[in-house]
Subunit: 357 residues, 2 copies
DNA sequence: GTGAAAGCGCTAACAG
DNA sequence: CTGTTAGCGCTTTCAC
């Protein structure tokens, strides 16, 4: 047995023609046996397969795509695969894809429309059959348009894009935020802060247009719940740009500047984690001095002391359902676009209590 | 401006020939301008680029790969992208790849050699220029051999494969485990358990061959540290198959069956998380009743009460360095294979104290 | 600098 | 059932 592993060079590949030659049949016949299509007699098939095996034939998926036009591949563009939300959604989607016999290509957008455009270009260049996209911007449709114009099926997840009719799978963020906010309100809190890392040019003002629909919905649910409860100037309780300004900085300010904040909602679990730490550093007890609710049922929320009350999303299912919708399109379904809204679920643990004052 | 977004079908793509026609030049010339190679006069280039833009030309990366033989793509096969370890390593590798202008394809192996073989086949079929692999088995070289035989550069990460000389980036697991174990020993513990999810046919016995080198190294460091300290039958303190048997079941048994275990090392942060919870459910205080050390510096380990002492690995860098090594190979470097061993670092928090008895 | 033609590995259409 | 012949969209000689 000879290994030429010592040469770094890529060997000349064994092709259908080689196999055909070795098996003593025509190229097309070998191709049919190898590609498992068309009609081939058992005896010939066996001969071809044996030859292929002997020669170490490996199909060239690219050449196949070239002639069929189908790559048998789905693409996904996420904000950042390190974010547990995207990791789980990706896994959900990838499971559906591989169950359907499709391959999967992943790109990160860093939540930056420019990087996203590049990522999309790559995926289209590789001729993915369809694309899963968590759009970096819900207000600028340019990137989404580019894939639609290319004629590729696309399904959004986690966020929608305004003014573009396309399949999407999102969570019920507005009602989730309302529920979370009301839990705090019902416990007696009146000064509740919402912290998000979403970038925004300005201080948040009522009705301002936010660039990410999921966050916008969360903010909207939050503000409307406060308003319903008669809280004055609810918009002033929304704190954006937490990545730029630092979650810990914001949390620290909120908890020490006499603004009287008694409860905080973290727009994702990473934010809540930071708040949790700041509270501890400040010697503030949870939930005695501060009540806390996080979005997403992250691992740590049930080992912290106290456990953190969370608004949980069916993350896996968001990815899986998006992939299912995409599969339909890839298979030619031309029904009108649907937006699937999946429920969020409140999981109460120990981080909410009435405010001290 | 016309959008035929209403048709789900993939439109006939705009090709180099189309652009050439529109620009009034030969196909080859257009291709040179578009592909940015060869020599083209400025005026012609401008004309071609303008035409391309007008027609909405998008290069077909597959066709390009067909003729050049290079796909400009790196592949990675991980155990499970939902595992934070792999998510971080993947991100590290992906950043290096995209900085070098290469695309990135991801597959999950589920730590199953059969699934892994399939994943590798897919990547090779897509003609990736090189492959990053966290091999599902360190003792069965079949899958790794298949990519080497295909002549593709490959770099392993997190684990090595016995008997195969190939580039790899791993962590210093043996010494890390020794350090962690000694910390416990020095605190006075004598009955320390190590829990891992690694599958193994039997109860662990001294010198048994484990199928994943990273875990094998951890176990070896652990056992040798115990032996050095004069602990009798150190192998009996190793508990494998924790996925099959349930981490919580194992932990519960260890802590209630009178075996007198006073400290536990979790072979990854997910395991430690479960142990943490079981301890709490059992009403055991950490570190008063049980000392705990985890591998990997997960988020939750610094918000739990107490914080968990961890053996941290440079996960990002493992992925990044593996990608760098791979890039070299892809570029033709034929130097002998190297195995890069990155240090682990002990981060002491509050989960270790002397045993009660 | 530009053009014409061949070919990458595969599938598809059409004969036989 | 099997073979022949064209391409898929691009790059790459090799002429001019």
């Amino acid at each position: 047995m000879s290994h030429d592993s010592d040469t770094g060079a890529i060997r000349r590949e064994v092709t259908v023609a080689d196999v055909a030659g070795a098996a003593g049949v025509a190229k097309a016949t070998a191709a049919r046996a190898l590609g498992d299509y068309g009609a081939v007699s058992d005896s010939v098939r066996d001969r071809v397969l044996a030859a292929a095996d002997r020669l170490g034939y490996r199909p060239n998926a690219l050449a196949r795509t070239m002639s069929t036009g189908r790559s048998n591949t789905l693409g996904i563009v996420v904000g950042d695969i390190e974010n547990p939300f995207f990791a789980q959604a990706t896994r959900g989607a990838s499971d559906v894809a591989s169950a359907a016999g499709l391959d999967f290509i992943l790109s990160n957008s860093d939540e930056d429309p420019v990087v996203e455009a590049q990522a999309i270009a790559v995926q289209l260049a590789k001729r993915v059959d369809g694309l899963l996209l968590a759009p970096a911007s819900s207000v600028d449709p340019t990137n989404l348009r580019s894939v639609i114009d290319a004629g590729r099926p696309v399904v959004l997840f986690d966020r929608v894009v305004e003014g573009v009719e396309v399949d999407a799978v999102i969570a019920a963020n507005r009602s989730g935020a309302r529920t979370a906010t009301r839990l705090l309100l019902d416990a007696g809190h009146r000064r509740i802060a919402l912290i998000s890392t979403l970038e925004h040019d300005d201080v948040y003002r009522a009705g301002a247009m936010l660039t990410m629909s999921s966050v916008a919905e969360r903010v909207d649910g939050f503000v409307s719940a406060l308003a319903d409860a008669g809280v004055a100037d609810p918009a002033s309780f929304v704190h954006l740009n937490a990545r730029r300004d630092g979650v810990d900085t914001i949390a620290r300010r909120l908890l020490t500047d006499g603004s009287g904040i008694t409860a905080i909602i973290g727009s994702d679990s990473l934010i809540a984690l930071q708040v949790f730490r700041v509270a501890r550093e400040l010697g503030l007890g949870i939930p005695t001095d501060l009540s806390l609710i996080a979005f997403d049922d992250a691992d740590w929320t049930w080992v912290s002391t106290p456990g953190v009350t969370v608004m949980s999303q069916p993350i896996h299912e968001i990815g899986a359902e998006a992939a299912r919708l995409l599969l339909r399109r890839v298979r030619g379904d031309v029904a009108p676009p649907v937006v699937r809204v999946l429920d969020q679920k409140l999981i109460e643990r120990g981080s909410v209590a009435p405010p001290r004052r």
